[in-house]
């Protein structure tokens, strides 16, 4: 089963894509786990999602902490702190 991963703003520009369908890797059960998995791709991914970098995440369009569980079918988004209005 798959998850949908979205990237916005500076993260989107760095990783070069705004959306990606992904087979949820075995052992990945949280937002932080997914972030670590993506970071392991290296290069721009490692940089954009670097540990310690201030990122926000949302699961199914609700802002959640990195410890939030993820499961098949979820829409998971990574983005910088918002700067609206």
């Amino acid at each position: 089963m798959k998850v949908k991963v979205l990237f916005f703003a500076s993260i989107r520009e760095k990783v070069g894509t705004g959306t990606e369908e992904l087979e949820l890797p075995v052992g990945v059960a949280s937002v932080d786990g997914l972030r670590q998995h993506l970071r392991a791709r290296g290069g721009a991914w490692a940089e954009a999602l670097a540990e310690g970098k201030l990122l926000r995440s949302a699961v199914n369009q609700d802002i959640v902490p990195g410890t939030n569980p993820v499961k098949a079918g979820d829409e998971i988004a990574f983005f910088p702190p918002v700067t609206g209005g």
């Binding site: 979205l6 916005f8 703003a9 500076s10 989107r12 201030l54 949302a58 369009q61 609700d62 802002i63 988004a77 983005f79 910088p80 702190p81 918002v82 700067t83 609206g84 209005g85």
Partner: protein, 149 residues
């Protein structure tokens, strides 16, 4: 109650007439417009692009409005936030709150604006003489939102 995330401009006068005109319970209409300035943090800004998270943005605005309605008497409310390319003096965001009394109208309008600036998923990229730069989150905005807790 109207929430719109749109590329097109809006008309304050028309929006206020639409929500307040003709309801004799409305004694107070507070409204706010945010506009693009030509300078931000000391840097000249030529134009900017507002990116948002379609779907989540509308959901966030509905949640914020529902929260505001538990706190203050809101007879009607309009929230419009634009996205896409904007240049200095363009309108970005509109909040209009109609209430029986001015205290509620002002508080709800400012509350909604503070949340729009700090919680709604919008990101601003400014074009400066040195090129594009993503605006960093501001401490002052976070503090403005904190005081409602």
């Amino acid at each position: 109650m109207k929430i719109s995330v749109q590329q097109e401009d809006f008309d304050l006068g028309a929006e206020v007439k639409a929500i307040a005109r003709g309801n004799p319970k409305v004694g107070a209409v507070a409204s706010f417009i945010g506009l693009v300035r030509d300078i931000n943090d000391g840097t000249t800004v030529g134009a900017m692009t507002l990116e948002h998270y379609p779907g989540m943005t509308e959901k966030a605005l509905e949640t914020i409005l529902a929260e505001a309605r538990t706190r203050w008497e809101i007879l009607d409310c309009t929230i419009i936030h634009r996205f896409g390319e904007l240049k200095p003096t363009d309108q970005i965001v509109l909040v209009v709150v109609a209430s029986g009394h001015r205290g509620d109208a002002f508080a709800a309008c400012e509350f909604l604006m503070d949340y729009l600036k700090t919680k709604a998923p919008f990101w601003k990229k400014e074009q400066t003489p040195e090129g594009g730069r993503w605006v960093e989150s501001r401490d002052s905005d976070d503090q403005a939102a904190e005081r409602w807790k």
